[in-house]
């Protein structure tokens, strides 16, 4: 059959030429599939990690793990000092980093003149975020343990962790403050409120959900940290078998106890008690993150 040149036929020929050759389509799909696989790796590793720890640890979670102090015997080992230490650290770090972080963010976002000092503080804050956490531990050991003679105490651990997460809280709080519409500031000032009254009574309450979300997420990073408090002297020996009620008490923490257990020579500690401790730690972090996500969803006006 002869091909008659009609407008319709010409359109078909033109479309054929635009169509990709077959192997090109295959390469396109192959590329997308490759990207998908690479993306899946991280998710799969996370899933394997959680399942592995659940299988290892869940059978060894029992009431002893919560009520007892550390022990030479795997079946008698409990995380009482670690759990209470971590909770005490959470309260102190939360208070310290929230007050200083929000104060610093408010100054930088609302008051700071655009001068060399401000720019230096900003550049410095972003550089601090890249300093390894173990170096903060050395700072804590050198300045607070020895120079201020605070010893290897709960308060030194709390200060060290607070300094570690301060850059994160400042960045998050500044973003939350920036998201508050300028009209609110102008309205407050127009009604005769001083800048501080405007910020304290109108702007900060508006920014609070964002600030709290950022603070809680940073806090959950802090209590998962091991290296800095190990360096300032969190303990896993029997000397830390106490509930730290006082800021100058010796202290332990959950990640510290997990580290100690993984390194113990007896297999039962590494294979049974350590994963149980990890589960307690992860559940605690999950609770904190859920609160942060709840706050974010509850108060976010957009979306």
């Amino acid at each position: 059959m002869m091909a008659v040149s009609t407008p319709q036929r010409e359109a078909e020929v033109a479309q054929d030429a635009l169509h990709a050759p077959d192997d090109r389509g295959r390469r396109e799909r192959g590329f997308e599939f490759g990207l998908l696989i690479a993306t899946a790796v991280a998710v799969v590793v996370l899933a394997v990690l959680l399942i592995d720890i659940a299988i290892d640890g869940l059978p060894f979670i029992n009431s002893t793990r919560f009520t007892e102090y550390s022990s030479r015997f795997p079946e008698e080992f409990g995380f009482r000092s670690g759990i209470t230490g971590t909770l005490s650290l959470m309260i102190l770090v939360g208070l310290l980093s929230f007050v200083i972080g929000v104060g610093g963010a408010t100054y930088l976002e609302e008051f700071a003149p655009n001068n060399r000092f401000t720019r230096f503080v900003e550049a410095n804050t972003s550089n601090l975020a890249g300093v390894p956490s173990v170096v903060y531990g050395l700072l804590g050991a050198g300045v607070f343990v020895f120079f201020f003679s605070l010893g290897r105490s709960l308060i030194v651990g709390a200060i060290t962790l607070s300094l570690l997460i301060l850059p994160v809280i400042i960045v998050a709080s500044r973003e939350a403050l920036r998201a508050v519409p300028n009209a609110l500031r102008e309205a407050g000032l127009g009604l005769g409120a001083t800048p501080l009254q405007t910020i304290g009574r109108q702007i900060l309450p508006q920014a609070l959900p964002g600030i709290l979300t950022g603070t809680i997420l940073a806090l959950s990073r802090a209590i998962g940290e091991t290296a800095p408090i190990l360096v300032v002297g969190a303990l896993f020996s029997r000397r830390s078998d106490n509930v730290p009620w006082d800021i100058d008490d010796a202290f332990s923490a959950l990640p510290i106890q997990v580290f100690d257990l993984v390194k113990r020579p007896q297999a039962a500690f590494q294979e049974q008690v350590a994963p149980a401790g990890i589960i307690i730690l992860l559940v605690l972090l999950l609770l904190m993150n859920s609160i942060a996500i709840y706050l974010r969803n509850r108060y976010s006006r957009s979306s």
């Binding site: 991280a42 104060g103 100054y107 170096v135 050395l138 300045v143």
Partner: protein, 313 residues
């Protein structure tokens, strides 16, 4: 003379001094200055202790420290303090981590930014955040009790894999920084204007071409910055390597051997409760100072790179 009314950036100070407000403002300024004090504190502590390390001991010199290849720190004055052995461990682990993290992180970023449907994006991003939030001591446990046995059961058939080895730690450090690289690179890729993509499509490019020839080169400064930041995190990572790589300084390039990184040495040495002023105690700070300088250079490089090569759209 028109006064500015734009709110921020305007001088809003009261006509007469309010001392209470002044005090609060001063307090806020102090809060902002804490970060500067932190930096000063870090620099002072690291470099006074480190200088004591070099000044008070005839057996230790700065050149010997930086070029020596034997690290045997627990012998007091008889010890050998050649930090290259630790630097080697750190660099080997970091290299493995980057080999794992750069392809995975960039592919994840490209997928999230260019391919993933909205629903997939919304569930993938929080998952990556969760991975980024897993405590590193937990990742270290995973490296030691899961990745290492898997390595020994597979490639262990052919080569000798030590219980502690660089490869296992490096892989897990790499997984740890995938979220960092992915999320920062994705931001950079999403910021590439739509018009550039459409121009390429109009010229007949396929989607793969658009991603690899248009989007990635346009987002290069952000991508490189994310990789450099990931590199800094890999060098400073402590608990994964302390658990998985071991505590035996080792000048090796074999990733299946055990070794020790700078950070792992710090962790090991502080557990020995070395008395203040002792050579071991000061050596911790000397290693810490070197680590601090390395990460500082990396961070400054990242900032410089972004500023130098950023494409303004």
């Amino acid at each position: 003379m028109a006064t500015e009314v734009s709110g921020r950036g305007t001088d809003l100070s009261a006509g007469s001094p309010r001392w209470g407000e002044r005090a609060i403002l001063a307090f806020l300024l102090v809060c902002a200055a804490v970060s500067v004090l932190t930096t000063i504190g870090i620099v002072l502590v690291l470099f006074t202790e480190a200088s004591g390390f070099f000044r008070n001991n005839e057996s230790v010199t700065l050149t010997g420290f930086l070029t020596g290849t034997t690290w045997q720190p627990f012998g007091g004055a008889q010890g050998e303090y050649g930090v290259l052995e630790l630097v080697n461990g750190t660099l080997l682990v970091t290299a493995i981590a980057m080999i794992v993290a750069v392809p995975l992180g960039l592919a994840t970023a490209a997928y999230l930014s260019e391919y993933a449907p909205g629903r997939v994006r919304r569930s993938l991003k929080p998952t990556l955040e969760v991975l980024a939030g897993v405590p590193t001591v937990v990742l270290g446990y995973f490296a030691l009790t899961f990745i290492t046995p898997v390595l020994r059961a597979t490639i262990g058939e052919i080569w000798t894999v030590s219980i502690f080895n660089h490869l296992s730690g490096g892989i897990v450090v790499g997984i740890m920084i995938v979220p960092t690289i992915a999320s920062l690179s994705e931001d950079a890729m999403s910021a590439v204007p739509r018009a550039l993509r459409e121009g390429a499509y109009g010229l007949g490019a396929t989607k793969r071409r658009v991603v690899t020839r248009i989007v990635m080169p346009s987002a290069l400064s952000g991508i490189v910055a994310s990789i450099i930041l990931g590199l800094g995190r890999a060098i400073g990572e402590t608990m994964i390597v302390a658990l998985a790589v071991g505590n035996l300084p080792n000048l090796t390039f074999n990733p299946l051997d055990q070794g020790q990184t700078m950070t792992a040495y710090i962790v090991q040495a502080v557990q020995g409760e070395a008395p203040r002023g002792s050579l071991t105690y000061q050596s911790i700070f000397a290693v810490g100072a070197l680590l601090f300088v390395m990460t500082l250079v990396i961070n400054v490089a990242a900032t410089w790179f972004v500023r130098r090569f950023r494409e303004e759209y």
